[in-house]
């Protein structure tokens, strides 16, 4: 894993979007298309804005999947990840191939159906965030590192649900769904390249646990350390608790 630390969220987002656009561009050159997995949430907003602004990306050759979606939340709800992706990425580009998780009506069918499409070919790039509780997608601790199924129906823990209220997607914790569809850990790790975008001070502890603690289902995102091509993008705030030796250990050139 390579860790890159930036002055602020803006420069972080630009650099991450630069790498992402480059990876998408290379996949299209090599294989004629790019299969990408996109993360959502507050931490990804600036990054996706920067990616949409990237020049000469042929979005028509991009096929999109997403990491997760709440069970029982209509696409019209402001917190819906499908709405998020349509508004902030899909409608802003010429993207035509996308597979949204309709977890409102029939979550199990959606998980199965999109899962089959997802596992029919390799994933080129996955974007990810890391939760305040160190979750990866909606795999809250203790995460399942073994399941091979591409998507799972998971129960959301309280820390995770509180984070969603903190980010103002919901006005009260009782409104936050208790379940979600989440891409499995193993499916995420199958991506050839992972770009993890993790700004903000509220993520500092989770980042520290991920990099300096043991690799464990109790810190789901720690598994990213085993992936051969993950770049973790931090800003000064989210990196604030890391020791110098950790930063040196994961430095790029």
């Amino acid at each position: 894993m390579i860790v890159r630390v930036f002055e602020d969220k803006r420069s972080l987002s630009t650099a991450a979007a630069d790498q992402a656009a480059n990876a998408i561009h290379h996949a299209i050159l090599d294989r004629g298309r790019a299969r990408i997995v996109v993360a959502t949430g507050t931490s990804q907003l600036d990054f996706l804005d920067a990616l949409v602004a990237a020049e000469k990306l042929d979005w028509q050759k991009v096929e999109l999947f997403h990491l997760d979606e709440y069970v029982g939340l209509p696409i019209t709800h402001p917190a819906s990840f499908r709405k998020y992706l349509l508004d902030r990425l899909i409608h802003k580009t010429s993207m035509r191939h996308y597979h949204l998780l309709d977890a409102n009506a029939a979550p199990h069918e959606a998980a199965l159906h999109v899962g089959q499409l997802l596992s029919s070919a390799p994933v080129d790039i996955a974007f990810a965030g890391i939760g305040e509780n160190a979750h990866l997608a909606f795999n809250d601790p203790p995460a399942d590192f073994q399941t091979e199924a591409p998507y799972l129906i998971v129960n959301l823990d309280e820390a995770c649900r509180r984070q969603q209220v903190g980010e103002a997607w919901f006005s009260d914790i009782s409104e936050v769904p208790r379940q979600a569809i989440s891409m499995s850990i193993r499916q995420i790790l199958k991506a050839k390249e992972i770009i993890a975008v993790v700004p903000d001070a509220r993520k500092a502890l989770a980042v520290k646990l991920c990099l300096e603690g043991e690799i464990s289902p109790l810190v789901p995102a720690s598994i990213l350390r085993t992936h051969p091509a993950t770049t973790l993008y931090l800003d000064k705030q989210s990196a604030s608790l890391l020791s110098q030796s950790t930063l040196a250990m994961h430095a790029a050139t």
Partner: protein
């Protein structure tokens, strides 16, 4: 010896024990040789990420080296016999140093594979060249020690490489990291050109040392060459197969350690900088294993064991010892992984020392080179197959994270064990021994 004044003289002052300085030079060339080749495996995790290589892509690059290296060992040996040691090793070191420098211009899988192929071709001359130099400069009784000296350069080079390469990479990038070993080669070359001449031509050899070397030469080499044994006849002997297997079932494990270890550590979630200890200790353990293997089998023979029993004792030790790789699947603890790998490479090296002497033990001198050649080829094929499988399975199991190398490590632990069983079954005194086709062991 006090010297009063430095007077210019047509005869430069002799260097006492000049041959050991030459031994040191050969050791240094092996060190540089290994630093050159280890540069890629140390940088592999970074290059993989930068160039978006899968492990199968990396395997293809590593195989390019192995192919050239396997072929080169046979070809370069003959060429060095033709042009002589001084020029032969000069060309070889110049060649691979330039290739290492040029590798810094590589720009993708094809150019890396091409440079690795050229590097393997050049580096393969080191061992035949060094053993020829030893035969020119050392009396028979010291040749074993001299060979052990230059051979241990491989472990020392492998152990030094991460400390030299990684800081350079982290500061200046991978292109500069390939320049360093290339430059080292040219320093070596200067020393070599100044110091290496045949004993009888050397301006600075002491008369006593020269006389000692001349006395050691056999009076006349037998000019009547015995007919070379036919391949077909050799391949009919179970002992030949036992010898081939002893190398073909052990070398791939060693090259897994030399070429894949940094990538394996990443899969265990251990960053290379914190894992340096795991990269150099197994090399030193292998070096000790070499001396252990040679030393213990010699000791057992002196204790009255038969040659065969003394050799097989080490084969059994190695066959069981390498299985210590297997428990590493249960841990991500750096120190435990290092310890288990070190014990395994120690065991591997004692097995491999025996694999290297089996041809001399078993076959008449006119067949030794043929059988060694076959076991070298067997080891090359085994390693290439192993690399293809390692690339494929580690890619396919990437999502198993810390467990993605499990089947590979289990196989690496079991294959020398299977080799051990086959060697025990095949290398025995048979009717062919009674008929004098194979030596009694």
């Amino acid at each position: 010896m006090p010297l009063t004044a430095q007077t210019p003289s047509p005869h430069p002052r002799p260097i006492p024990s000049l041959r050991w300085w030459i031994g040191v030079l050969l050791f240094a060339s092996t060190v540089i040789n290994y630093i050159d080749r280890q540069t890629l495996s140390i940088l592999a995790p970074f290059l993989k990420q930068q160039y978006r290589w899968t492990n199968s892509d990396y395997a293809a690059i590593a195989i390019a080296f192995r192919i050239a290296y396997s072929i080169g060992q046979t070809v370069c040996g003959r060429q060095i016999d033709r042009v002589g040691t001084r020029l032969g090793l000069s060309i070889s070191v110049t060649w691979y140093s330039i290739v290492s420098l040029l590798t810094s211009l590589a720009n993708g899988i094809l150019s890396f594979a091409a440079f690795r192929f050229l590097l393997g071709a050049g580096e393969s001359a080191n061992w035949p060249g060094a053993s020829k130099a030893v035969s020119e400069w050392f009396p028979k009784r010291e040749r074993g020690l001299a060979a052990a000296l230059y051979d241990s350069g491989s472990s020392v080079g492998g152990a030094i490489a991460p400390f030299l390469i990684l800081p350079v990479y982290l500061r200046w990038g991978w292109r500069v990291a390939f320049v360093i070993p290339g430059v080292l080669g040219f320093f070596w070359l200067i020393a070599w050109r100044r110091l290496y001449h045949l004993p009888q031509d050397h301006p600075r050899i002491s008369p006593a040392e020269l006389q000692m070397l001349l006395d050691d030469k056999p009076p006349t080499e037998s000019s009547v060459a015995k007919p070379l044994p036919r391949w077909r006849d050799l391949l009919r002997l179970p002992q030949t197969w036992g010898t081939i297997i002893s190398k073909a079932f052990t070398d791939p494990v060693w090259f897994f350690v030399t070429d894949w270890f940094p990538i394996y550590l990443i899969a265990k979630g251990i960053s290379l900088k914190s894992g340096l200890i795991a990269v150099w200790i197994p090399f030193l353990a292998a070096d000790l294993g070499n001396f252990f293997g040679g030393g213990v089998s010699g000791y057992l023979i002196r204790r009255g064991w038969s040659l065969g029993a003394a050799r097989k004792a080490l084969v059994v030790f190695g066959g069981f010892g390498v299985m210590l790789l297997i428990p590493t699947i249960f841990t991500v603890n750096l120190y435990l992984i290092t310890l288990l790998f070190a014990l395994a490479t120690f065991s591997y090296a004692s097995f491999s020392t025996i694999a290297n002497v089996l041809p001399t033990d078993l076959f008449a001198s006119e067949a030794v080179a043929s059988v060694s050649g076959m076991s070298g080829t067997g080891a090359g094929i085994g390693t290439i197959l192993a690399f293809l499988l390692i690339g494929h399975y580690s890619d396919a199991r990437q999502s198993a994270a810390t467990h993605s190398f499990d089947p590979i490590v289990i196989a690496a632990g079991l294959i020398p064990f299977i080799g051990m069983i086959l060697v025990l079954l095949l290398v025995r005194n048979t009717r062919a021994t009674d008929r004098g086709l194979v030596r009694r062991i």
